[in-house]
């Protein structure tokens, strides 16, 4: 797989975005300094790599891996501080209930400022030869986020904001800088959503680096073995379940590949807890599959 500067991890809710983002960041950080950016406020990916963020916006996990928490609200705050230089006014404004006007007057502004921040981070990362892995929101919200720059261009047909929006669009379309990774699990709905997401991304001219087919089981049983199990009631059902999950994984792979998306499988981990050791194991699988040079 071609390595872009920024990997934007999205997918249907519950398909393992945060785990995949954490594993990919770990994998990349073995080669180059890497930043794991958490956009969802729950800091799930940060938790997985063991970053203790507390109240601060960034934390270092190792020499080559740092975690940053980004939020739309924080970006809007810093933007307002920039454009209203009288700090007494901007400070009061940020605490006031009339704050809502700003977001109402320009819907998508907060999301846009977040994208602008990512663009700047990517530029810095390119200079320092670093990678950025973004634990992005679920596909619907993520696509809105990625489309926000063109929306802002429509709302602000001229001026500074318009120029910034054009720059964000250019950043997203630059395959060396930005690519999306879609997480998917062996389920019909997750696969449909991954295909829809890929289609929209391709239409937006955003590179889809690949789909991570997460929780793919080994089939374990052959067809002839399944036939022998007829008398075994519930064990038979459990064996069938294993096999049908494998079939669903194959089907997802087939559909995604047919849509031109490279598929990378991560195994289903039959463990009572997913901890640091499991994520580290996943990161090695990813490294072998995706970033072997």
């Amino acid at each position: 797989m071609k390595l872009s500067r920024v990997f934007f991890i999205t997918g249907k809710g519950g398909t393992g975005k945060s785990t995949v983002a954490a594993a990919l960041a770990l994998a990349l950080s073995r080669r180059r300094p890497t930043t794991l950016a958490d956009l969802d406020g729950r800091l799930a990916a940060a938790d997985i790599v063991g970053a203790a963020l507390g109240d601060s916006a960034s934390a270092r996990v190792s020499d080559s891996l740092e975690v940053v928490a980004l939020s739309q609200r924080a970006e809007l705050h810093s933007f307002i501080k920039r454009i209203v230089p009288v700090s007494a006014i901007s400070e009061r404004m940020l605490r006031s209930r009339t704050f809502g006007y700003v977001t109402a007057a320009l819907p998508g502004l907060e999301a846009f400022l977040l994208m602008e921040r990512l663009r700047i981070m990517a530029g810095e990362a390119a200079l320092q030869d670093r990678h950025i892995v973004i634990d992005a929101p679920a596909s619907g919200t993520a696509l809105e986020l990625l489309a926000v720059a063109s929306g802002v261009k429509g709302i602000a047909p001229a001026g500074t904001l318009n120029r910034l929006a054009a720059a964000v669009e250019e950043f997203l379309a630059d395959q060396g800088l930005f690519s999306a990774v879609i997480t998917v699990t062996p389920e019909e709905l997750a696969m449909r959503e991954a295909l829809d997401t890929a289609r929209v991304l391709q239409k937006m001219r955003i590179e889809v680096a690949g789909a991570i087919l997460n929780r793919s089981p080994l089939p374990l049983f052959t067809d002839s073995e399944l036939r022998v199990l007829d008398t075994l009631g519930e064990h038979r059902l459990l064996a069938h379940r294993r096999v049908s999950e494998r079939e669903a994984a194959d089907k997802a792979r087939e559909h995604l590949e047919r849509a031109g998306i490279p598929v990378f499988e991560l195994p289903m981990l039959y463990r009572a807890a997913i901890g640091a050791r499991e994520v580290s194991a996943l990161s090695r699988k990813l490294a072998a599959a995706m970033i072997a040079e």
């Binding site: 006014i89 006031s96 109402a104 819907p107 619907g140 022998v228 008398t231 519930e234 459990l238």
Partner: protein, 365 residues
């Protein structure tokens, strides 16, 4: 924490809240079908149903008003006719209707509907969908011919996003802000400092964006001046409805660790908002596992037995993971709420019968 699942069919309103992707829409539809099959006249309002679910409910092409769902094949309780209607929320249309209802004149209505800020608001501002879901709920619940309204809610990062939506929107429309932005500059001295700050920020935005936001916002809030009371009244009534004793707030989640963590945050927020949660439904819970001894006594090759034992051990690990999640959830359960499991289906729900079987298999944890 009570041990028996509540009888959802007896509530006037059932609101399903929860993290995204846990099956809120499916659960809303399942609960509605359960009530309908017991002879209640039920409306279910969905927000963003998956295509299969749209098909199952007969909502292809969208229905912004309740549309009857044919219940062929589903048996109603003896002697009672089941009635189920389903709709898909149309936030923009609902907002437009609300404006039309409260606008003092046709000219005022048209001015608002054409205002750029309004057009942005009704399809882009987070929270408008939430608010409109509440508004529509109020409308459906006021129909005396309807016994129960089941409401699916938009995906939210925070439970309170939904509950808080009317208040946030009202703040935006409040009359104080109207006086501020509409006032001639000479009078501005008498307004609070923060209001001046709003004005300063908007003018700064005008410089940066090349737009005329200040005047757009002025026109927008002035347009709402005569309607504010009407909106505020609706919001108060929606809030009262949510807190009513015959309203059941139901939280839906899945057993996956990340979702349970989110669910716990939701429960905490709901507690702070003094909204009592009647039940937490854990969707897609695993079924009990079979007994390993059945493998030993089976007449099958030893190699196959080993595979079966491994398969069972693998699923047992997943079951253990689930039970740890449920323990974490139990710690956060509010007083008086039941913890309910909804066992996973072998396939995604495709039909009314699938949805009915989900409701039929709810068990107390």
């Amino acid at each position: 924490m009570s041990s028996r699942p509540p009888d959802f069919t007896r509530f006037r309103v059932v609101v399903c809240l929860g993290p995204g992707g846990v099956g809120k829409t499916t659960m809303s539809a399942a609960l509605a079908i359960m009530s309908a099959s017991r002879g209640r006249a039920v409306d279910v309002m969905t927000v963003d149903p998956a295509p299969r679910l749209l098909d199952a409910l007969g909502l292809e092409g969208g229905a912004s008003e309740p549309r009857p769902v044919p219940l062929d094949g589903l048996r109603a309780a003896k002697g009672k006719a089941a009635r189920l209607r389903a709709m898909k929320l149309d936030p923009k249309g609902t907002f437009d209707a609300l404006v039309a209802r409260y606008a003092p004149s046709a000219a005022a209505r048209d001015a608002i509907l054409a205002n750029r800020i309004y057009r942005n608001l009704s399809n882009a501002l987070a929270g408008v969908g939430d608010y409109m879901a509440m508004e529509k709920l109020l409308e459906l619940a006021s129909d005396a011919a309807t016994d129960q309204v089941v409401l699916d809610t938009p995906p939210a990062a925070e439970a309170l996003d939904f509950l808080d939506a009317p208040r946030r929107l009202l703040e935006l429309l409040s009359s104080r802000a109207v006086t501020l932005l509409g006032a001639p500059a000479g009078l501005l001295r008498q307004f609070r400092f923060v209001d001046l700050a709003a004005r300063a920020v908007l003018s700064a935005f005008d410089r940066v964006t090349g737009l005329n936001l200040l005047s757009d916002v002025q026109a927008f809030v002035q347009g709402f001046e005569g309607m504010y009371e009407g909106f505020a009244d609706r919001a108060r009534r929606a809030n009262a409805l949510l807190h009513a004793s015959d309203t059941a707030v139901v939280m839906v989640t899945t057993p996956e660790a990340g979702r349970i963590a989110q669910a716990r945050q939701f429960l905490e927020s709901l507690g702070k908002a003094e909204l009592s949660v009647k039940a937490v439904i854990v969707n897609r819970a695993m079924a009990p596992l079979p007994d390993a001894r059945e493998i030993a006594s089976a007449k099958i090759p030893a190699a196959l037995k080993r595979k079966l034992i491994r398969n069972l051990a693998d699923f047992a690990a997943l079951k253990e993971r689930e039970s740890r999640s449920l323990d974490a959830l139990r710690e956060a359960m509010p007083a008086g709420a039941s913890l309910i499991l909804s066992r996973e289906l072998e396939h995604e729900p495709r039909s009314l019968a699938d949805l009915a079987s989900i409701a039929g298999r709810l068990t107390a944890a």
